[in-house]
């Protein structure tokens, strides 16, 4: 991990949020935190303040290898790492230019000796629809929120209806009688 100034903001961690069981984890942004456990607590505080969420993953930003379709095209023949043992990588991709709140979605896992090879493997394993951006992250670098505490971490946000705009209904100034003075 890159060394950070001691009193600085600390390293960055990419955050992935799963909205509901069966849906993929999605990149929602990042947090600054010093260590993985802190990063998870901060991820919940920053990115899960409103429903819905059932799981969070964090990974050091430095561990994420990102490449866009444009970069792949410009690169020409894609040179991959050769030799060395295979490691597990989590693969994420973006497949649409549609306006959205989240970036890449988790699509699955590949085994490869390095990130460039992992991207190549992901393109083969998950060819459709074509990805606009690929992210690959070593599985060992991804830390998950504790499953057994999912209720405690994520349910309370549902009850705080006062921070949902729907709690305020239709607001028309209307022609109401003023409360008399005094």
């Amino acid at each position: 991990m890159a060394a950070a100034a001691p009193a600085g903001q600390g390293p960055r961690w990419e955050v992935f949020k799963q909205d509901a069981a069966g849906k993929p984890h999605q990149a929602v942004g990042s947090v600054h935190a010093a260590d993985p456990e802190h990063a998870l607590l901060m991820a919940r505080s920053v990115h899960a303040r409103r429903p819905a969420a059932v799981s969070l993953w964090v990974a050091p930003a430095d561990a994420v290898f990102a490449v866009t379709a444009e970069e792949l095209e410009a690169a020409g023949p894609w040179a991959v790492e050769d030799g060395g043992p295979n490691r597990r990588f989590l693969a994420f991709r973006k497949t649409s230019h549609r306006r959205a709140m989240t970036f890449v979605d988790h699509v699955g896992e590949v085994e490869a000796p390095g990130p460039r090879a992992a991207v190549a493997a992901a393109m083969v394993a998950f060819p459709e629809p074509p990805a606009l951006t690929w992210w690959v992250v070593p599985a060992d670098d991804v830390v998950a929120s504790p499953e057994e505490e999912a209720g405690a971490w994520f349910d309370p946000a549902r009850d705080k209806t006062y921070k949902q705009q729907s709690a305020y209904g239709l607001l028309a100034p209307g022609k109401r009688k003023r409360v008399e003075d005094g």
């Binding site: 935190a33 901060m42 505490e149 971490w153 349910d155 309370p156």
Partner: protein
């Protein structure tokens, strides 16, 4: 099992007092935590601590609403129009916020006690109290993780963080026992199964706190300390706090709505 309507009058009075005390703890602690908004060491922690403050004020409302069901009192009336002498929070929560070590250690001590208290209240014979406690207990899981994390990081961070943590511990330790000190009416409540046995609760809370301190490599201070007395005793810190908290509401006491 009891609902709001079918309590013995002595038990009912005792429960009103207990709910008020718990609500006051949460409201005053929430106030102190919310003083950090915009001033925390990291943007993410600003959000985290504000969320915790929000939860605590939410818990205060939970307890006050449970009291409303018993005596028709109004939570805002209780919060904004009682003088310091009528508040029933423990001294520990009204102490000024201090530095990050003081705030987070105070939070940890409170969270550790709350975790044990709420787990037991969730089994209360009084159903509305059990339900409120179960709800609060859920949020408390995250609070304890967060304050526990800071206990570790401050204890095992730098020399300066450890020094500040130990100074905070010295300051807070005398106030700790007041958290589990029973209220006058608690005996009747314990007998009715509304609240847990105080001795057992104290043992569990102490045990949790001691274990956490040991894991963090921190020695607790010596035990012989002055007793802060009953919950009706407060310091000037609470007076200043309430002047702040109540000023807008008191400037226009008769309003229909804020």
């Amino acid at each position: 099992m009891s609902g709001s309507g079918d309590l013995d009058p002595t038990v009912r009075e005792a429960l009103i007092a207990r709910l008020t005390a718990m609500a006051d703890d949460e409201l005053i602690l929430g106030h102190r935590d919310s003083e950090w908004t915009g001033h925390a060491p990291l943007l993410e922690e600003d959000i985290a601590l504000a969320n915790i403050a929000q939860d605590e004020i939410g818990h205060a409302l939970l307890w006050l609403e449970a009291r409303t069901a018993l005596d028709g009192s109004d939570p805002d009336e209780l919060a904004f129009f009682r003088e310091a002498g009528a508040y029933r929070n423990v001294r520990m929560v009204e102490l000024p916020k201090g530095d990050w070590a003081f705030t987070l250690l105070r939070q940890f001590l409170f969270d550790a006690f709350e975790t044990e208290l709420l787990a037991r209240l969730a089994r209360s014979s009084h159903v509305p109290l059990a339900e409120a406690a179960a709800k609060a207990a859920k949020e408390e899981v995250f609070h304890l993780r967060h304050s526990g994390l800071w206990l570790e990081r401050l204890a095992r961070g730098t020399e300066e963080s450890r020094r500040r943590l130990l100074a905070a511990l010295e300051q807070l330790w005398p106030y700790l026992p007041q958290l589990w000190q029973p209220l006058p009416g608690d005996a009747a409540l314990a007998e009715a199964g509304v609240v847990p046995d105080p001795a057992e609760l104290e043992e569990a809370a102490r045990g949790r706190i001691m274990a956490a301190l040991a894991r963090a490599g921190v020695e607790p201070p010596a035990e012989a300390v002055p007793n802060p007395g009953g919950r009706e005793r407060h310091g000037e810190a609470l007076v200043t706090l309430l002047i702040d908290m109540q000023s807008v509401a008191r400037a226009d006491p008769g309003v229909e709505a804020w």
